[in-house]
């Protein structure tokens, strides 16, 4: 009797979350798969079944490949650099230094601020005629650049801004990882005469692997979903579409060109890429991280 009562109660407890997730995540995902097999502009009531045509069209869509390439470029620009810089800063912050919480809170500030608001500031910084970046570079003899208006520099400019925005998150996560490494490991290494770099290489970096694994996963996923700063900084996908990332192109197809089926097909390709990445990462990286204590 009791356990039936407990079962009922448990279902009541999960019901609110379950209904939301079912209605707004699971059903729409399946429905998206269906839409991707149709040609539909959302306004007309006519939906034409086209099978896999949307997926095949994607293969021949140069702009889609360009956006995919841009997304990879963006991800490879942001993730490794952000990890490297945040690791160095976290290591410095972890040296029982005075003012730790002050430093940490400033590095973290961009994380809590709205991307739209800070993007406005970066638009101003990158302004080719009156922007402060060109002014400062001019002081050290570098000529003015077009930044967001240049097909070559627009992407690096967006990357730089994105690293600035997310750095604090990685630093905080790394600090947790560093604080979880037992002090004894270092004292033992010191007895054996290990130098600082030897300790970094043989203790800190290997023991931080689970943290790094977590950060890579989170950063990769958020890089692949990047939309807001593209929308704000480089309207229309930047000069020569040089900053048109996959989510931006998807948004344009769905809500500017009203190609719902085509955009849904694109969303599924994005899903498959992320799914494969996660699998690959588990296969190759997770084997190397089992140093947990």
């Amino acid at each position: 009797m009791r356990s039936i009562k407990e079962e009922t109660l448990a279902y009541i407890f999960i019901l609110p979350a379950l209904s939301i997730i079912f209605i707004f995540h699971i059903v729409p995902a399946l429905y998206a798969l269906r839409i991707s097999l149709y040609s539909w502009d959302m306004i007309s009531s006519v939906k034409e079944f086209v099978g896999l045509k949307n997926y095949i069209l994607l293969l021949y869509d140069k702009e889609f490949w360009k956006s995919l390439f841009n997304t990879v470029y963006f991800t490879l620009g942001v993730v490794p650099l952000s990890i490297l810089i945040s690791l160095v800063i976290a290591l410095f912050l972890n040296t029982k230094i005075r003012g730790l919480s002050f430093y940490r809170s400033v590095y973290f500030l961009p994380v809590v601020t709205s991307m739209n608001a800070v993007a406005m500031v970066w638009l101003w910084i990158y302004n080719p005629d009156y922007g402060i970046l060109n002014y400062l570079l001019g002081k050290i003899g570098i000529s003015s650049q077009k930044w967001l208006l240049s097909p070559y520099l627009a992407m690096p400019a967006v990357i730089l801004m994105s690293i600035w925005k997310s750095l604090g998150y990685n630093i905080v996560i790394y600090l947790v990882g560093l604080q979880n490494i037992p002090e004894e490991y270092y004292s033992a290494a010191q007895v054996d005469g290990g130098g600082r770099f030897a300790m970094l290489k043989h203790i800190t970096v290997p023991l931080l692997m689970p943290t790094t694994f977590f950060i890579i996963t989170v950063s990769f996923i958020s890089a692949f979903h990047t939309f807001t700063q593209i929308y704000m900084l480089t309207p229309d996908g930047g000069p020569l579409k040089s900053t048109s990332l996959i989510v931006y192109y998807l948004y344009q197809n769905a809500f500017v060109f009203f190609k719902m089926g085509y955009a849904s097909a694109m969303a599924f390709v994005l899903f498959i890429i992320m799914f494969l990445f996660t699998l690959l990462q588990h296969k190759f990286l997770e084997k190397r991280i089992h140093y947990e204590i």
Binding site: E6, L18, T95, Y103, F108, V172, Y231
Partner: protein, 269 residues
């Protein structure tokens, strides 16, 4: 000693770079229009033009944007904490048929990118007549798998004996939750709350496609339209950006320990 100085110097340079955009934003926001576009560039405004703020505030419905953002964020945060706590408890401490299956399906939905569900959800909102309403902005985000996961991990660490002792005193699951478990779960509530607060307050793509009138725009969407309209009047743009950032920055600096620990805890999953 030398290394300490070196570390401080590096960290300090880092801080200047990190905070520079904010400083430049504030300085620009106080400049008279002609000084903003002056060459050679001037660092400080010759006189502080507070009227930029008034002008920016009056040129768009910022009051309304703030109200919408605060309303949507507060309700979503409490909703997520509530639904996550109940579901997290059921997954951590209760026995029911299909428990593992449902939990894995939940985790699986974390893999589905927002973009996949975007179009069907938009159509659903249209069918329900929820486009451009608070319902549409709030209800789809009333549950968070990540929140459920964090809650479950936390409740799992609470010893079973606590529940057994409460049961001896005649406590059922329901009163155990409210009287004993929830009061000791503040840390995880704060984590889930802060995570959901940051993501809801800053969310952009969904409110962008969902809203089509000034009345319903949230702050990020409002800022976007403001930027389009005043594209080169940077003193107004920076005043607007400062207004948008300042309240968040203040809350953050007052409660920064909670913010950072809250986020740090989410990394342990």
């Amino acid at each position: 000693m030398k290394t300490k100085v070196f570390i401080h110097i590096v960290l300090f340079i880092g801080i200047i770079i990190m905070s520079f955009p904010f400083l430049w934003m504030i300085l620009t926001s106080f400049k008279p229009q002609d000084e903003v576009l002056q060459i050679p560039l001037k660092w400080l405004p010759t006189k502080f033009e507070f009227s930029n703020y008034i002008q920016a505030w009056e040129s768009a419905s910022f009051g309304r944007y703030f109200f919408n953002s605060i309303l949507v964020t507060v309700i979503t945060v409490f909703g997520q904490i509530f639904t996550s706590a109940l579901a997290g408890y059921a997954f951590a401490k209760m026995k029911f048929t299909g428990k593992n299956l449902i939990f894995y399906v939940f985790l699986g939905t974390m893999m589905i990118p927002l973009e996949v569900t975007l179009i069907p959800n938009y159509i659903l909102m249209k069918e329900l007549g929820w486009l451009n309403t608070y319902f549409g902005l709030i209800v789809p985000w009333f549950a968070s798998v990540f929140g459920i996961f964090l809650m479950r991990q936390f409740f799992k660490t609470v010893p079973q004996e606590l529940f057994e002792a409460a049961e001896m005193d005649g406590c059922g699951h329901w009163s155990y939750l409210w009287k004993i478990l929830f009061p000791i779960s503040t840390p995880v509530f704060v984590s889930v709350g802060i995570f959901s607060m940051i993501s809801t307050w800053n969310s952009f793509l969904w409110p962008l496609i969902m809203t089509n009138s000034t009345n319903m725009r949230t702050l990020p969407v409002g800022l976007t339209y403001f930027t389009l309209e005043f594209s080169t009047r940077y003193h107004l743009l920076m005043a607007a950006a400062t207004m948008a950032i300042l309240p968040v920055a203040l809350v953050y600096f007052i409660a920064q320990r909670h913010f950072i620990q809250g986020i740090a805890r989410t990394g342990l999953g």
